[in-house]
Symmetry: D3
Subunit: 278 residues, 6 copies
């Protein structure tokens, strides 16, 4: 099965039933991202999203860091910051197209129908935050070094951090504090303000915790898990009244699932629950 997920800079494995593990694999560059990588990331998660053998996903980085973020050198050479036209408006439109495409790739993590649990260890700068904020659950380790790094290279973060942080963390003063200064902060601060929900001792412990959680989630009804992710994401962006109405329409179909019966019966019969694939 893993062979259908064959990408140069990502290792994909299946450590438990219905659980996938995606590992960024460019450790010699601290997993810095160049353009082919975000396109592959997107292709990879679009495939996982509809793979009936996958119900939960762990996302982490190989080597000493989750990711150092954008490979700035590659970006400069690739012309990201200097499209060859002269007219400012045409440059602007080229940049707009480029940013929208880049954002779409990262948003694949959020659109993935299956929950994605992200383990952040070591250097986790810039794009590390953009990506982790598109994931569902964020776990860090004692040694994680976070930074909303973009302001340090003269730009406002544009691949999702600024749009998602105010909806992920409930402390706007802190958000501005780190986003305006690009200062490095650690897991204690991240836990206190709610950027991560758990801090593990080290990478190994973090991966274990993520894998345990993924395995637990994967043991639940895939219909219920899909709905829970979808409705939470919808509700984050909407009023309570809109969320309630959407939930009613969503569940009009989804409550008809046999999983409800299966969940109840297996409970009463004290046997392992077994859900059909989704």
């Amino acid at each position: 099965m893993a062979e259908t997920y064959n990408y140069e800079f990502f290792n994909v494995s299946f450590p438990a039933e219905f659980v996938a593990h995606v590992e960024i694999n460019r450790p010699e560059k601290l997993n810095a991202f160049k353009e082919v990588m975000w396109h592959n990331l997107s292709a990879l998660f679009d495939k996982l999203s509809v793979d009936p053998n996958v119900r939960a996903i762990v996302y982490s980085g190989a080597g000493r860091a989750f990711t150092a973020g954008l490979d700035v050198q590659a970006a400069s050479e690739g012309g990201t910051f200097a499209p060859p036209t002269v007219d400012s408006a045409r440059k602007a439109n080229g940049l707009r197209r480029h940013i929208l495409e880049f954002q779409d790739c990262i948003t694949s993590l959020e659109k993935c129908e299956k929950p994605v649990i992200c383990v952040m260890h070591g250097i986790s700068f810039g794009l590390a935050l953009d990506m982790s904020l598109s994931c569902d659950v964020r776990i860090s380790t004692q040694d994680t070094k976070f930074s909303v790094k973009e302001v340090d290279i003269g730009l406002a973060a544009d691949i999702g951090t600024l749009s998602r942080l105010p909806h992920a963390v409930g402390n706007m003063s802190w958000i501005k504090d780190v986003a305006l200064s690009a200062r490095v902060f650690g897991s204690d601060e991240a836990l206190r303000v709610g950027l991560v929900s758990r801090v593990a001792k080290d990478k190994e412990a973090g991966l274990k915790e993520a894998l345990d959680l993924a395995t637990l989630v994967a043991s639940k009804s895939p219909v219920a898990v899909l709905g829970t992710k979808e409705i939470l994401n919808y509700s984050r962006d909407k009023t309570v009244a809109e969320g309630l109405n959407y939930t009613a329409v969503w569940n009009a179909a989804m409550l008809q699932t046999d999983d409800v019966k299966e969940a109840m019966l297996s409970g009463m019969q004290k046997r392992k629950v077994k859900f059909a694939k989704l």
Copy 2:
């Protein structure tokens, strides 16, 4: 006065001036809810909402638990999960009607003009969260066991938890962590992430704290308290600019109240303030 609030599964009392106490009363079933109960809950709070003798409400559960949530057995028998038609679309519409009606009942807690302070102790699963998230203030106790339980019975929570959690708690990673896994968590975690604002030693202490807070709120201008609840709920769902404009229109009427004068005078004259009924 209490006799006008006569419902089989709810005890209503008036422990202090202008303060009502509503207690779920089906302790032999850990206060699990069957259909008549949410209809009565709604009728009860609609009445309290406009009762001029009530200015703040405490909401809690009799016995060993706040509530174990939906009475799943009664729901199964009542046909909630298995409407008698065959066509999937017609079943879907039946379920949609049912969910919307159920949601409306729980939303009565939120629409109630008077603040509702919820005390959650012991088992507080599923519907316990739906209801408490419609209340204004949440207090728990050292022994509270919380769970967004729905995913365990094959469905996405649809009576409000998923729609309200992202607007009540500022830690989306944690919200997904507990909602996708249905894992049980305690008061320490609830306090850290902001699901509750206070943790009391035990049920008795929690009730006392709630009653004290309710008594304090009930001593303030009912016009000011009504406006504060209404504008906070409105603003939660809107942009800052929309909130500001709504506040201006709201207060265009409400600042004309005699309560302002009364509040200032009583302060200067060092006497007990006395507001007209609302």
Copy 3:
């Protein structure tokens, strides 16, 4: 330069390059606000917003308190609560006009293109919260006494606290707790729930911390800082998808800045970065 910022109740100084310090200066009244003050506050920050010599601003209070809030006595005399007309609807419209104008003055802090770091010490009641919630970063001190005071004088806070709190703090239960009761709370609570992001030992330490942060922010690209503040404020009020699209359009122009090149070059050349004025 300071002489162009000459206002009776505000001291304006420039303690570091590109950093302004605005101090409320009516210490004999605990910096309570009368009408001329909010008009001057607005004029002052509108000017700082476009002053090319300013890149970050510290905002604090002279004397023993940040501010005791509205000067209620002056407001009463000025007719704020008692417009001279008789017809309720005409009174209402007068109040609406007045509130909208007052709100607009305070919103100048939020609209200011440069980040505003607020230091709250001592008494910080009512308007203190309205103003600090329009600032970007909030720092308090061990002795800060906060209160959403308005309900105590018979009204719902209408100059921004109720509209901004649910978007600044991720704990709705706590927000209702303090806003409905007007109870006084301290820095420990403020830090835990995310109202402030830092607590300093005392006023002096708080000012130093604010000044250090302002100096750090002022050393970054002004184009990047402006964009970061603007996009965060926009995203707070919008869905993630809307935030992403806005970011792409914003950066279509802003990524063309020479600051990116300057930031990268100065990094490589290990020299002090120097950005053009904005």
Copy 4:
């Protein structure tokens, strides 16, 4: 069947299979509304909404007029405009409760799951517009006299006209023209600006046209008709992207209906289509 719809001021009949006809019946007062009437209207349409024998509804007025609107005399006596309290803020809250309740009654026409076709003839003032704008299709006659009458009695229309007109008619200049002046206008103008979609010669012809349309709609799949009404109402209030997503979730359940197969088969077999009840 008609006997279950027994209301003093409304005649309910069933002129064709699956078609109901509701007629306002207070012709001696030009069908002017007093409070009991809007409560009954609401009860009546809530019942029709879930009646499996009803698939489309015609709504019209007995006698010489659709309705002259609010029975102002009854309203004055009933205290609508003069609640007995003295404090302006308390009066305001009483009025707010009253208006919200009144609006809810009229919104029952919009919330009704079955399409409502409104025939407006003769005097159609004030509440006539509030109600017809909650209906799905509006048909008038050569002699209809429309007026957004409220400004003539010193108030801004508050039961729905001002909120619904900008979403029903695409000519804001005309909307302001008639709403600010309360001038009377006729069917030619109403058709040109899109307030009505058809003008019939007289009441009889209008009723026939409405009945024909209702009969046609009632011959379609009730699942498809319900979805079409619901999605159009939803989309009116939302962005295109939101509408598309909602449609996908809605149809996830509704496309599973047997009605699709039945509609196709009956077409191929050239026989009358027959759908199960909803």
Copy 5:
């Protein structure tokens, strides 16, 4: 009274009781706008908005045209299109500030508490549409020549036409047709699609019609007229449910007006109605 409205490029007169007439007065340039003019326009309408002697306003142009739009020559000289900085991002921010300020000036027409009736005759290009779309009622004449002119000078209209047209006119195909091509169109087309609500024979007839309408509006309760304009503008931008709730809060204060009684009494007593000033 007119002398307090003394602006070089605007004639202000009071042709009827409570009615103001504002005339653009730069006929030798076909009333083309230079910067001082939009600042004065804003100051002028801000003053009319709160002038108790004004209840309705007619807005038109002196000479042969309503307005030819922006004085492009003056704009070029004034540096609008060529700010003196070199860095693209800094230029961008300068342009953004300038556009926002310009838009704010034109929005004064929309924010004006009193209805504004616009008469468009002769050339009505570019800014003519921006301004008229901020007015409440649009009347044109047989000879009006309209054009969304901006695309002809290489830019997308940015002072309001593109933002307001889709909310003023219900024919998106036509809006795109004229906005993308900058083609000139006449009053017949404008009336058919709903850009104007009336077409008069010539300027004189148009002014008379506007004055008659203004006089009629000015004879109504100023409280009712203010509310009608405000709620219609609010509802244009919001869902129906939001509009209904806002209306209820607005009218909670405004229904307390003595104007209701006065309107009813004067009707019964067949005497001229007389409302207090607002």
Copy 6:
């Protein structure tokens, strides 16, 4: 150039400088759509969107009809309406995925950076409306037969008609009239209600009119045309205030274009304007 646009069911030609013509080419089936066609449509317009040699696009159908809509027979065989799983919830999710993907394909017409002018002749049912409503300008002919056909086959239209109609046409009564009944209507009605902005004599005349308009649009600054389409689409879905702010940010970059200078100079020099490619 045309050879790069090689699709089995679409003819692509370039009848004028910077103008593309896309023709649906399955005339033997009245241009009915099967799945490969909407995927190709999407690929085709995504390419045109960024093709620097294209500035405006005409979209029409070969043969006797624009399109008869979905190829229902092919859809049935392809399993669109009958996914092979048994569980209702899993079927629902499969349908949801399918509908979202189908919608995305059609939305490519709306997302295309270049304006799309649609010519509808003959049968224009179902999907014909979904697609034309994603285009910018709609032109029909004397013989066009329109129908929102979906309700006739037991379903609510889900590829865009219901979501886009309320934002394209300003007559909700008419929208419900045709969408609930599936009745066929002609060009006179379509023009009156604003579904199309022009009616040509026949297909040939319609194509000429579309080509003339496309040629005119293609002669304008591509920067201005892009901005006009983008801002109009944005504003359709947003409040006026949001539209104004977005316009300011958009034009912050786009006003820096050399096209403004070129447009002005060529006008003064009376020579043909020549804009750089986009």
